[in-house]
Symmetry: C2
DNA sequence: GAATGCGTATGACATATTTCATAAAATCAA
DNA sequence: TTGATTTTATGAAATATGTCATACGCATTC
């Protein structure tokens, strides 16, 4: 973890329109002044469940997993997050402590703005407040919707669903490098590592995907979709 | 469904502190003027997924289930909600249509305030906006946390978890009348009706609970807790 | 280079869960 | 009240999933 040497001004940030587009120049300056950009290497812990919440965080670059560790020490991944996502927005306004842990899956740049600054802006700019609510609403819906989709499928459908998610929503292409291990994939869709591996092998034998380690290529989109829909 | 004949003023509502405590008298009046209280009988649909969102809704009395119907026509219950809960707060600020359906499990009183009134107040009162964010954050966390707890357990643990939830968080007592059928309980914890029934029969045989139809009495809290914790 | 740990892989077996069949009890509508 | 429908109930068989054992390749460390 280190501070970025190449800090971009929020005004020129591609994610500006997600949140900050309705701020005045003076307000922008407040955000910028209170902001740091931090770089995390692959595997580094960005947020630890239970940490005090002092900052508002969002992803500028990279990929992370958001997870919780249960009382038996087993991790469960709630979601994979990509640039533009706000990685602690859901907890910020009702909890003092982080409710989920977050780890970088690849080199990840996180923008951090003091929570007190954000709250000050919220109080003074209702358009900004409405935008923050919009993002909260959107994020909550996304997570709940995904858990809903996962919970009604069985293993093959779950693996197919996640492969489609990675291909269609993260990488926007049919071939990609898996950002997580098979174990983590299992933690994401609530199944064992062995079954996750087995199911992927089966997809390969059936000609639905091709694999070489972490490199995945989806060959038969139609059948992948069918397996995904059939549960 | 009918309008309440006995409308209470928000100022005297027991749930006032959840949301409205920081409104001025003039603002209160706006809420009151834009508000209707609607009574739904057991089984009546309060919100249908896909409906246009025009109102901000919350439960004053009763019990509801929030659910989604999947592409195969099977319902999945996301949560059981009780008085004081805001039953569409999560979707309100990012979607035009309801994302979930809601049905009354018993006679239920719903307060409905025009969304335009709420937004108007949000724009003029930042303390109110922060409180709404607080509630959104809290609701999202609750749902996600519960799905997390369910997903890491197997059938016995899931049933035990829900019995504890009903006993400890809804009825605050060891004996209660189940507000949902066994099929609905299954829809809530992602398992079949038969297994739900079987598991409850097993709990009875083991002396953990006693049952007579929908009447449930938890006899051995210690063992229920143990089953709940062991997955 | 050997030893270690981790991720991927696969088979065999044990267990969990669903499915299908059937039936009694409870609920609801006419 | 009757008759129809839903809910609760249980068993047996089929299927899905988890567990345990083992192996191999690869990177890291000593």
């Amino acid at each position: 973890m280190k501070l970025s040497k190449n800090i971009i001004n929020c005004k020129s940030c591609v994610y500006r329109n997600l949140l900050y587009e309705m701020l005045s120049s003076a307000e922008y300056e407040k955000v910028n002044a209170s902001r740091t950009e931090i770089i995390f290497g692959r595997g580094e812990l960005i947020i630890n469940e239970g940490d005090e919440i002092n900052d508002f965080l969002y992803l500028r670059k990279g990929l992370v997993k958001m997870f919780k560790t249960n009382s038996h020490g087993k991790d469960h991944i709630l979601s994979i997050n990509k640039p533009g996502d706000f990685i602690n927005l859901l907890s910020i306004f009702s909890k003092d402590e982080q409710q989920y842990s977050v780890t970088a899956l690849e080199e990840t740049h996180v923008c951090s703005v003091k929570l007190s600054t954000i709250i000050e802006l919220l109080k003074g700019n209702s358009e900004f407040a409405l935008r923050v609510m919009n993002r909260m609403s959107y994020i909550a819906d996304e997570i709940i919707q995904k858990r809903f989709e996962i919970s009604q499928r069985q293993v093959k459908g779950r693996v197919a669903y996640m492969l489609r998610f990675l291909s269609e929503q993260i990488y926007h292409r049919g071939d990609f490098r898996m950002p997580i291990t098979r174990r983590e994939l299992g933690e994401l869709i609530s199944m064992t590592t062995e079954n996750t591996i087995r199911t992927m092998s089966e997809f390969r034998k059936d000609g639905i995907i091709d694999m070489d380690g972490k490199n995945i290529q989806i060959i038969d989109f139609g059948r992948l979709r069918k397996v995904c829909e059939m549960g």
